[in-house]
């Protein structure tokens, strides 16, 4: 069981196994304890400034202490939300200004900012051998082929598993 929890934390468990293990952790307090200890170990190994211990228990206790508000929302609350929203918008705008200025001042930074936006990669599979004709047709007219010389043609004849008999 302990080993499975460790594997789960490494993200190496299959989805269905992970689900049943998480269900088990929810029901079984020993397993939950192990889960928390493993996280604690991980936190200590990563050497942060503070190590949180028993965080979930503390959050639960604090939530139980929170009074339950049954009164309907008045104008005042709405007004407050609006103020918060406006100030949030203002600080976002400030970040925007800083980002914009850094772009103006240093072009080196812009790729880095842009790279962050592109962090999400769509799913992709290896190019099928059937599509080699497109690759070849593209290759012979790409400046990339010109600079790399014939070397880039190796792409089009690359040994792909699909092409293997």
């Amino acid at each position: 069981m302990k080993q499975n929890i460790s594997v789960l934390m490494d993200g190496e468990l299959f989805e269905d196994e992970a689900e049943s293990l998480l269900g088990h952790i929810k029901r079984n307090s020993d397993a939950r304890m192990n889960w928390e200890i493993y996280h604690l170990i991980g936190d200590v190994l990563r050497q942060p400034e503070y190590v949180h211990r028993g965080l979930s228990r503390k959050v639960r206790e604090r939530m139980q202490d929170e009074p339950v508000v049954l009164a309907p929302r008045g104008r005042e609350v709405k007004q407050q939300i609006r103020t918060i929203a406006l100030s949030a918008a203002a600080s976002l705008a400030a970040i925007g200004v800083v980002a914009w200025m850094s772009l103006q001042i240093s072009p080196e930074l812009s790729p880095r900012l842009a790279m962050q936006q592109a962090a999400l990669q769509p799913a992709s599979v290896p190019i099928n051998a059937d599509a080699n004709d497109y690759l070849m047709a593209h290759q012979e007219l790409s400046p990339n082929a010109d600079m790399n010389g014939g070397a880039s043609y190796i792409r089009t004849v690359s040994y792909s598993l699909d092409a293997a008999p």
Binding site: I105, A114, Q121, P122, S124, L141, S142, P143, A151, A164
Partner: protein, 319 residues
């Protein structure tokens, strides 16, 4: 508050300046590399790394009165060989020499003034010092894009001959998408040319200009793509016959000087093999999609989201 922001911005800029102690690179390097790659005789062995794979190949490049000849041979896996001569490509595949392509022009035209300015606008070129590759001293040059729609290109150029010794295409967080690198290289001197004559005698190079002209013809198809990254200019628009296709295929090629994007348009014949989707080999991404009655394919040495974005913007604008 405003003052603080201004100061912060300046500081940010200065830190970045201090960081980049490397010299800005001149784009003349690209001209040098292209020229040297065409006019130098060399032979060597290089490795090609992509998608967690490594392949070793040998390459011989020679010039004679009839032009450039180049032989490329995979040293791993099944025997695969490619011979290039004056814009024609021949492949030795399944024990048979077949013509794989020809585009009538001996090589890609060298960079136009327009392309050079597009390059300057879209990439930040820097010299990163000198490193040793395959026993030669190489100047390292990094072309870093100013947006996230293209890859970074890092090249290692022989300081004496100007030959490209190593080239890497870097993606998000400097992940190596693909890389070529010579491990052994002989520049000039005695190079085996026997294959040039043999191939000529075998008729492998027998030119058939009529067929070539029929295969490819320039057209104005009326198709456009609205969402190409800035600096990508159309270098070619042709109609070509392609293996296994009944109808001619329209191909448009766009280039920003370092990378190219091809858009292929053909009637959708409902072939089940033509599934919609994204596929990748090294730095090349390919995206297939049926739009109306046409099958559109976008291929390029650009990130996946770029080929998808380009394809989704393809439309018929009328002639």
């Amino acid at each position: 508050m405003m003052k603080f922001i201004v100061f912060f911005g300046l500081l940010f800029g200065m830190v970045a300046q201090a960081d980049a102690e490397d010299m800005p690179a001149s784009l003349d390097w690209l001209e040098v590399v292209t020229f040297a790659g065409r006019h130098t005789d060399y032979s060597g062995v290089f490795v090609y790394q992509y998608d967690n794979r490594v392949e070793t190949s040998s390459i011989i490049h020679v010039n004679d009165a009839n032009g450039e000849y180049e032989k490329l041979e995979c040293l791993d896996g099944p025997k695969r060989e490619i011979i290039r001569h004056d814009g024609e490509v021949w492949g030795y595949i399944n024990h048979k020499m077949v013509q794989l392509g020809s585009h009538g022009q001996s090589s890609f035209p060298s960079l136009s003034a327009e392309q050079l300015s597009a390059l300057r606008a879209n990439y930040n070129a820097r010299l990163l010092g000198v490193e040793r590759v395959a026993g030669y001293n190489a100047q390292v040059i990094l072309f870093q894009p100013r947006d996230h729609l293209r890859y970074s290109h890092k090249i290692w150029v022989d300081t004496d001959s100007g030959l490209l010794l190593k080239a890497a295409v870097l993606g998000n967080r400097n992940k190596v998408e693909e890389q070529y690198s010579f491990t052994q290289l002989q520049i000039g001197g005695k190079i085996d040319r026997s294959w040039v004559r043999e191939s000529n005698m075998a008729g492998a190079y027998a030119k058939n200009p009529h067929e070539t002209n029929n295969d490819i013809k320039p057209i104005n198809s009326g198709w456009v793509a609205d969402m190409l990254p800035s600096g990508f200019k159309k270098t070619l628009e042709i109609e070509r016959k392609m293996h296994g296709k009944h109808a001619p295929v329209t191909q448009m090629v766009f280039s920003d000087g370092l990378s190219a994007i091809s858009i292929f348009i053909e009637p959708d014949d409902g072939d089940e093999d033509d599934v919609e989707g994204l596929s990748t080999r090294g730095a090349v991404n390919l995206y297939h999609k049926v739009l109306g009655k046409s099958l559109i394919t976008v291929v390029g040495e650009v990130p996946p989201h770029t080929v998808m974005r380009v394809l989704d913007s393809v439309r018929y604008n009328g002639k």
